[in-house]
Symmetry: D2
Subunit: 280 residues, 4 copies
């Protein structure tokens, strides 16, 4: 039998039993949803539907077949995703990270599940707009003003979610704008990424397809924030999040929960992150 | 700015900041892992590795291609997974649940993320064995003795995880035993499932491939617990969990977290559930 | 030992031994190639490359992982592909064609391999243009003038390949034009399809994405030629062919060879059809 | 208009018009068919069935989703499939063959379609048995006696199909025997492969899973015939063929037709090869 004391283990459980509100920060995966053309699209079919094969007792099971990349829908980048000059995070040579053709080192299976303080950085609210302009680079001043306005200083180990409002294009089904190949996409650049690193964040997310500020027409030619975050500092990146409900209800602090699939040797994982707060 | 009071939203966050231990209840997904042959096997490859295409600035991205069923690895069954006599949960006709060839009703995207009290029912510990015998049906008495021994009465809305010890075969790589086609697999039957329903569980999981008690040689010919849980009572089932660490440390009560991928119209989702307790 | 006489079996072989020219009518399958967005895109990755796992004797094998629809790249439509008012070819009810969730009746596995006379109908050459205009409907008069000009009357059992020149957009990498969502695509309509049926063709192909004449902006809203050919007359359709080499060399008559993958219960198959003629 | 003379191009066509018999040498692809566990299994589902989405005019289209390896079902090995000591055929370094993460050199897209003389080597008929024993290595003497008995000397450029009778296990659904992991599989070894090379074959096929003689329990630990054929001599290998009909009708010489999918950069392709002879 357990010999752990109630006080050691039950504080969290008591808080949950008192009532929590769970805000879904993930996107529904549908065939045809907006995603980067660089990755295998999400596809789904039912090999078996109810009625295709009915057992003698009248029971029937339906099942699925899925194919996809790991950087589609709401997802997290593993540290094996991006390299610079042949090196991954920790100065690891890219060849040394591979075993049997998969990234045994720094692969998606090495991302520990997260139950941490999360902070929403609602930049459009700070700037007094519904959403940022296409291609707008979120500055360090924007980030500083936002934490000050919200009174939510970032603490070491936090997960910082940078809202641009661009997720509205996902909601409205405007794929071209959400992907932003021609229009561009707002986001942080190298400077903003470094500021987040300086605050000690464990991970950072955004409501956009690539987290980065993408200038109009430039595509994903260079990804400076990925370099600063993933390669230089080992900070995970979460993309294509739904941050609209948090913003609408001004939920700026919460318990952030993210549990990636332990895909051995992969460079990322689809996820459905949660923001959880006490109350109903 | 937020007008929610700190006391309303911060109790949970304070509990997390005081320190939590996160126990991983999911299995690593690897090519060739044990799974049911009725579902598309998990496969993974890297279309692009570092070095395949290096940008002019020295940056390089690697990515993935995945194909799989949704009932492989650790996963949750949606209520659309099993029907009886042409009906899904809530007496819904199977044809009416389909829209455009997917289960819009009761599909995986309708499973709300779970942040709830979880209870481990460590049946082998109650019976004084390392793991249950192949084909052993966990009785109602076994379940009652277990909650009594653990002093962990199940409450309405809980998630009950029924340990058989069979997950040791997953750990050891004994695929034939884990799948149990010839040997059988221990688990609850219709009676045990009904008892769990009577306690008011929201979901229930196990460390086996199909949750059910599978007699030797019988395969998945009938699935009575699935009928009782999914079809008759709308109780979700989680399979192929890793419950060994919880048992080793006698963690019988915890915050259970499960956030399925919102796979539109699917019959299940791979998941990585967590047990979270206060303390390090 | 064989008792078949040489004269019975060797005429064809002798013709081949005398020398043949094989013209490839298929497209190379590449990730990102133009295709209909209605079907799962072609994706390919190497789970294992040379060097990932080397045997003690110094040998190493590389392998592949593919996901795709069957109506991508050069492909043939099975008779199970299209229905009208709930009926497939032969007045077969669509529900009756299914067994175990696949089209056992009229599926891709029922398409007999073809070794038949093939005729190229080079319509742009008849009209004196390099390629037909977007959205141009090839008329019965166009078809009649073409067979007359070429002196290649269609005979019962032939395979008729209708060239529009639109495949030049596949060659040039102009995906938007090849798919033609906005611009439209040239092709035969219901009248042209009926004329081909009246000539007794066994199958018919084109160098376009959907065989049909697609008006600008209309997409695949209706597919009258598919109805006439597949549903009403059991004539197979081959799409996204490469007909440029045949046209350039004015090869209007040839042995047409097509050997679809016997995909059990599927609605089509990727193929690499050949035109074969005597000579080098 | 064409200026090629009829005699130049029509000999072959005339032979086809006189009537041909087409023998299917491929296997039907079904979910669950026997295949090597080293490759992604063949899976197929219908994302859309008839009735899921009916157009206003009463038309409806069904379609498919496929995932698979390229070395499943009847398939051909590209020269990029196997290397020895870091080299592919032609002493090409394995790293140099890759471009953008695919085998641009020696990939499946480089296999020219085949319309050639084919010869069946019916070894069980020579040895007076229905099929060879598990693990039996077909000797050079067996091959020599077979061509002599059949009076079908192999000529340079031919495709030689070596029958063992093992395909009977595919027909009967005996997956364990066909795969032969425990039992072994009959086939040629290094000596037989070298003899075929010495005859000048362009390609060679068999009715087994791996072409090779596999000793009982040894699995695919070493593949000497692959080395001799693919790496040292650039001779293609075709596996999992259906050679029973050819043997039953003693068709030992024919036109062999094989048209692999032009899968860019892949290591093989599923195929449906044909044997074609004059006559009905």
């Amino acid at each position: 039998m357990t010999t752990l004391s109630t006080t050691t283990t039950h504080t969290l459980l008591d808080a949950v039993r008192a009532g929590v509100r769970v805000v879904d920060l993930g996107r529904t995966l549908t065939v045809g949803m907006p995603q980067s053309p660089n990755h295998p699209a999400y596809w789904h079919a039912l090999p078996r539907r109810h009625g295709d094969m009915v057992r003698v007792d009248g029971g029937s099971a339906a099942n699925d077949m899925i194919s996809m990349g790991t950087h589609v829908g709401t997802h997290i980048d593993a540290l094996s995703h991006v390299s610079q000059d042949g090196k991954l995070y920790g100065d690891l040579d890219v060849a040394d990270a591979l075993t049997g053709g998969r990234y045994e080192e720094l692969g998606a299976h090495t991302i520990a599940p997260m139950v941490r303080r999360g902070v929403l950085l609602d930049v459009p609210a700070t700037l007094g707009v519904d959403r940022l302009d296409a291609g707008y680079e979120i500055s360090v001043v924007d980030l500083e003003r936002t934490v000050e306005r919200q009174a939510t200083a970032i603490e070491p180990g936090d997960v910082a979610l940078v809202r641009s409002g661009w997720g509205q294009h996902f909601d409205s089904g405007d794929k071209a704008s959400f992907v932003g190949h021609d229009s561009g996409v707002p986001g942080v650049g190298a400077a903003g990424a470094q500021w987040l690193v300086d605050q000690g964040v464990h991970a950072t997310g955004a409501d956009t397809i690539a987290y980065e500020c993408l200038p109009p027409g430039a595509g994903h030619a260079t990804l400076p924030a990925h370099r600063v975050l993933l390669v230089e500092n080992g900070v995970y990146i979460i993309e294509t999040m739904n941050l609209e409900e948090l913003a609408a209800d001004a939920l700026h602090e919460f318990v952030f929960v993210l549990s990636p699939l332990a895909l051995y040797g992969a460079t990322g994982s689809p996820v459905r992150p949660l923001a959880v707060v006490s109350g109903e």
